[in-house]
């Protein structure tokens, strides 16, 4: 048993000990969804959706989301219908064989800003604004990384050449990114709930929204996990005593 623990500890030590130093340490944010009991902040999610819709959606798609998924953010059915109807989507073919435009429905996926990757690249100086649906899970550093990226646009250090049409970012690998600073000024959006839209506030809110988009099941998962662990905890203690009782008469 002692040896087993020694191995476990050795493995756990081995992994971080050999970890390479990060290029730039990501500033850590205490996200409301962190920790064993963390849940998303609904008000922040709604603000974050507003930032996505008014800023990021000009370039980035989120094709894994449907408008009806927004119910999770606290919107009711009518609000969602209104939100969906704001976009025009292509449907068809109709009986005459023609494609046609119609107002969005809650079951439609979020409308993408560009028809395809080529169009997106053409509009962004060759860089591709990727789909943000799973972005938080698809990057090392997760929410901290995206928040750092959004607030990490700075003047390049002396001597660092940034090609035209590109921008310097402290946290982007290689520091040269094709995305213009999306949250370049305070007050870029005016929040419906009156929160002051500082750059950092917008970055936090939109990151919170993207976290939810990547892991909408987080709250259910943690709640279920707690029940499972409590059950298994009791079960383990019970089995420990059962085993002890059964083995009482045996030399070992």
């Amino acid at each position: 048993m002692k040896r087993l623990f020694a191995i476990l500890i050795a493995v756990m030590l081995a992994v971080p000990a050999f970890a390479a130093e990060d290029e730039a340490k990501l500033p850590h944010v205490n996200w409301p969804q962190d920790g064993m009991f963390g849940t998303y902040d609904r008000a922040s999610l709604q603000r974050g959706y507003q930032v996505y819709k008014q800023v990021c959606a000009a370039c980035h798609a989120m094709k894994q989301l449907s408008y009806r998924d927004l119910a999770d953010l606290g919107y009711n059915e009518d609000q969602i219908k209104t939100l969906a109807a704001e976009v025009q989507v292509q449907d068809g073919p109709d009986d005459a064989g023609n494609m046609f435009e119609r107002a969005g429905r809650p079951s439609d996926h979020f409308k993408a800003p560009f028809a395809n990757e080529k169009a997106a690249r053409a509009a962004n100086g060759g860089a591709y604004p990727k789909d943000l649906s799973l972005m938080i899970k698809a990057r090392e550093g997760h929410a901290d990384y995206v928040h750092a990226l959004l607030t990490g646009f700075e003047d390049p250090p002396a001597g660092f050449k940034v090609p035209t049409g590109m921008y310097y970012n402290t946290y982007f690998p290689g520091h040269v990114i094709g995305m213009p600073p999306p949250l370049s000024a305070d007050g870029l959006v005016s929040y419906a709930d009156g929160t002051v839209a500082t750059k950092d506030q917008m970055a936090k809110d939109v990151t919170e929204f993207l976290s939810w988009a990547a892991e909408p099941e987080l709250e259910t998962r943690k709640k279920m996990g707690l029940q499972v662990l409590i059950f298994l905890g009791f079960f383990a203690v019970a089995m420990y005593f059962v085993k002890k009782q059964i083995w009482k008469g045996v030399k070992h």
Binding site: L134, G225, L229, A236, V242, I246, W247
Partner: protein, 330 residues
């Protein structure tokens, strides 16, 4: 391995266990391709491409595996079918495994065969109760990862859709394959006829042979180690090598997780050599362990005296404990 359970008369049991191990590796690899993220796609590409290293027929085999000329939808389709099928094959082999176990009976930490009924207890209720406790503890740890740390063991790149046009910077398999992956990449040199330019085994094929060889030696273990003493508890020298193997395995896992040309750093200090060197030394130890140390110790190790019986061993340990308590009181 530590208690020598692979030795006569349990060779068949061991071989069946190795077959399960191999099938499990295949199933896990096939499963990992199913989410069809970047790591899925490129992992499938790297592993299926290994077969192209086979002389003459390699290319044809790979096309056959893929169902086309690259990893694509037909590949995904058949991998899903096999991923579904193999667990049932595993289930069948587990039955054979248990059958083989019932021919020989279980081994134990002393490695001494049971002699009288004092040496054994019935499976039920003793081991059903004990194993249940073990299963519940395992499930608790498993649940902790599933519900609270679902992303720690995965790779972020697998949340990016498979894209044949964009190769990830580092293609790495899941954590449990990392030591084998390190061995695969450790062979960086061609093997040829000395003083000529004739290559017999290219580095790529060498890596493939080394990796599959690492599993093959495990199949051969019952014949590499014929020392009549089973348990490492009575083999002081072999015991040390066994622990060294554990350490080397952990290091190989680390080497597999890093890019081969990255410098090894410990707590941020650069050690000025690269991970591929660690992988090569690890592989060297692995093969020396199984092909030199084990057969040599099999003949030459001075083993400790074995207990009279399992019961006698347990009694001796209890007596020692009581003596220690008495000594403490005095």
């Amino acid at each position: 391995m530590y208690y020598g359970s692979y030795k006569a008369p349990r060779e068949l049991l061991w071989i069946l266990g190795m077959v399960i191990f191999l099938l499990l590796m295949a199933t896990a690899f096939l499963g990992y391709t199913l989410p069809w993220g970047q790591m899925s796609f490129w992992g499938a590409t790297v592993i299926t491409n290994l077969f192209s290293a086979i002389p003459f027929v390699g290319k044809a085999i790979v096309t056959w595996l893929w169902g086309g000329f690259s990893v694509d939808n037909p590949t995904l389709n058949r991998f899903f079918a096999f991923h579904f099928l193999l667990p049932f094959v595993i289930c069948a082999v587990v039955f054979l495994h248990v059958w083989a176990l019932h021919m020989t009976g279980s081994n134990n930490p002393t490695g001494v065969e049971p002699k009288t009924s004092a040496d054994t207890v019935p499976f039920h209720p003793y081991y059903t109760a004990k194993d249940f406790l073990g299963v519940v503890i395992f499930l608790a740890i498993y649940a902790l990862f599933t519900f609270y740390l679902p992303n720690v063991l995965g790779h972020p790149d697998n949340y990016i859709e498979a894209n044949p046009l964009s190769t990830p910077a580092h293609i790495v398999p899941e954590w449990y394959f990392l030591p084998f992956y390190a061995i695969l990449r450790a062979v960086t040199w061609d093997i040829g006829i000395p003083f000529t330019h004739i290559t017999i085994i290219e580095a790529k094929l060498g890596g493939v042979i080394a990796m599959f060889g690492a599993i093959a030696v495990l199949f051969a273990l019952p014949w590499l180690d014929r020392n009549p003493v089973r348990s490492c508890n009575y083999r002081p020298v072999y015991q040390k090598f066994m622990w060294a193997l554990v350490v080397v395995w952990i290091l190989l896992g680390q080497a597999g997780g890093h890019a081969p040309d990255d410098h090894v750093t410990v707590f941020g200090t650069d050690l000025h050599f690269t991970w591929v060197v660690v992988a090569q030394l690890g592989m060297l130890y692995y093969y020396v362990h199984f092909l030199v140390v084990v057969p040599w110790l099999s003949k030459n190790e001075k083993t400790l005296p074995l207990p009279e019986s399992i019961d006698a061993d347990v009694q001796a340990k209890i007596d020692a404990k009581i003596a220690a308590i008495k000594a403490g009181d005095a």
